[in-house]
């Protein structure tokens, strides 16, 4: 049945050149057409509704005037944003989150890049042990580290500084980043590097000239992971920082939530402020993300 259907469709197509000349292409078209359109669009549409209604709800509550009942984002007012940005201090929280996010992005990427290269290209004593240890760290509950990390940061005088967050974020991001980057480097043929050495490059120059450019999807994936995770982290920021000028966006948002009578307009506007950077970063990198994943650790 399937075959007749497909053949029928193929014959309907006026522009198709003699099929004999393009056998592979015809097959590919056929397999692409096997799923009927509605079988894609109906479930996809339903799922999009589930995904987007919550975002839409937040947007509407953020921009509509006080006392309005409308579910349409019109007329637009920015008073809620003014309240959260200036009144509740989200302007400062935003800066803090941004600094922590960028610092842990840079630290994670650089450390994981150098370590990942060692893991991928050298066989050294302790390598296996390190690999196993990295896998084990994935089972450590973040909540479990609160007590001892707090004690460490207190000893180092880092409590109530953003550095405590940068360190904690970076360390928690490192294992996954190392696994991803070393998996990616292993997939780059050694011959390319060797060719660079033959041409007189040092190992370091060879790395920058040959390996680094090919690592772009992996670096984008690792860097954006680090940024998004640190932007989103709540528990560390809640525990290690108690001065309001050092709060990050999620902590500020949690305080807005914790008020006895929640100001829903402000909550929604704070939510938009919290969502915007990560959703934008995500929109730009999501194509690389799937690429980076499939070439990295998961495929094996």
């Amino acid at each position: 049945m399937m075959t007749t259907q497909t053949t029928g469709r193929t014959l309907d197509r006026p522009a198709l050149p003699e099929p004999v000349r393009l056998p592979r292409r015809r097959h590919r078209r056929r397999s692409a057409q096997r799923v009927a359109r509605w079988q894609i669009y109906v479930p996809l549409g339903l799922y999009l509704l589930f995904t987007l209604v919550p975002f839409y709800w937040m947007l509407v509550f953020a921009v509509r005037p006080r006392g309005s009942d409308s579910l349409l984002p019109w007329p637009i007012t920015l008073e809620n944003f003014d309240t959260v940005w200036n009144g509740l201090g989200f302007g400062i929280f935003f800066q803090n989150s941004l600094m922590v996010g960028v610092a842990s992005l840079i630290a994670t990427t650089v450390i994981a890049l150098s370590g990942g290269y060692a893991l991928a290209r050298y066989n050294f004593r302790g390598r296996q042990l390190f690999m196993i240890a990295m896998l084990c760290t994935q089972f450590i509950p973040g909540a479990m580290m609160l007590i001892p990390l707090f004690e460490i940061f207190r000893t180092l005088g880092l409590v109530n500084t953003l550095w405590s967050l940068v360190i904690a974020e970076t360390v928690f991001q490192l294992p996954l980043s190392l696994i991803l980057i070393s998996g990616f480097i292993r997939n780059i043929p050694m011959e390319l590097e060797e060719a660079a050495w033959v041409d007189g490059c040092s190992r370091l120059r060879g790395f920058f000239a040959v390996v680094l450019p090919m690592l772009r999807p992996a670096l984008v994936a690792v860097g954006s992971f680090a940024f998004i995770h640190s932007w989103n982290n709540f528990l560390f920021a809640l525990m290690f920082v108690s001065e309001q000028e050092k709060f990050t966006v999620p902590v500020g948002l949690a305080y807005t939530l914790g008020e006895f009578s929640v100001d829903f307009g402000a909550l929604a506007a704070g939510g938009v402020v919290a969502a915007l950077p990560v959703v934008l970063v995500f929109a730009v990198i999501q194509r690389y993300l799937v690429q980076g994943m499939s070439a990295g650790a998961v495929k094996g």
């Binding site: 994981a112 190992r203 969502a275």
Partner: protein, 303 residues
Amino acid sequence: MAIAQAPPRERARPARAPRTPYVLIAPAVIAMLAFLVYPMASVVYYSLQHYNVSKPWDNAFAGLDNFRTLLFDDPLFWQSLAFSAKWVVTEVALQLVFGLALALIVNETFIGRAVSRALVFSPWAVSGVLTTGIWVLLYNPTTGVSRYLADLGLMNYGAAPLANPDTVFWAAVLAELWRGVPFFAILLLADLQTVSRDLYEAASVDGASRLRRFLHITLPHLKDAIILSTLLRAVWEFNNVDLLYTLTGGGPAHQTTTLPLYVATTAAQSHNFGYGSALTTAAFLILTFFSIAYLRLSKFGAR
């Protein structure tokens, strides 16, 4: 998995610089020793101590006292453990089913695919606290969906899913699902794209139905990715406390308290670091045990 195998080309190692790999990996090792391994060891040490910041006069070596309390005198430990299991199994199972379906859909060729992918994956980037913020709006009786449905005469006014003990679990599950499905969709889509087209073509030439192709080609190909992603996600769902901490606070009446949430509140509110550390050690051991058992039973990596 690739990380377990030795690097392919040892001959490329320059003999004159055996120190290079150690230098390269030193920053990672030092950071992880200082801020992961040492804290973990100190958790195990504290778990054997009576250590309460607010009652320093009682601090002393405790032996296994904390663990005895945990096993025999603390119903909340068992309750939170049972809830953790229920939470993790429900979330991971539902996220896997929807995530796989979503990955299969957006792996097809259709108009608007790139935009659809970006949109359906986007909640992945949203934090637990923000998820709470959004779903509090949606669930609230005066601002939520139920109120607007009631305006249309489709529901009664006043539904408050988060305050009602019968619905709070599913209300939390739905909110976490919203944010969790994209994780599976992204990972499984990445793996789907490595399935060879030729296999499908050969199978369809042989007259295999779509269901059979899915069962005999797609699923076996995805097996390792499914095992790994469910494991990672289960560990993550077990450990992550942001959403429940802010959405339900573990309530009503500890009904939605997971073990790590119990740890966090024990540490933050009662300052009983000794007992909190014992709970943590228990959580870590349980998690490691189940993870290894899962990898063994699912025959990860076996072809």
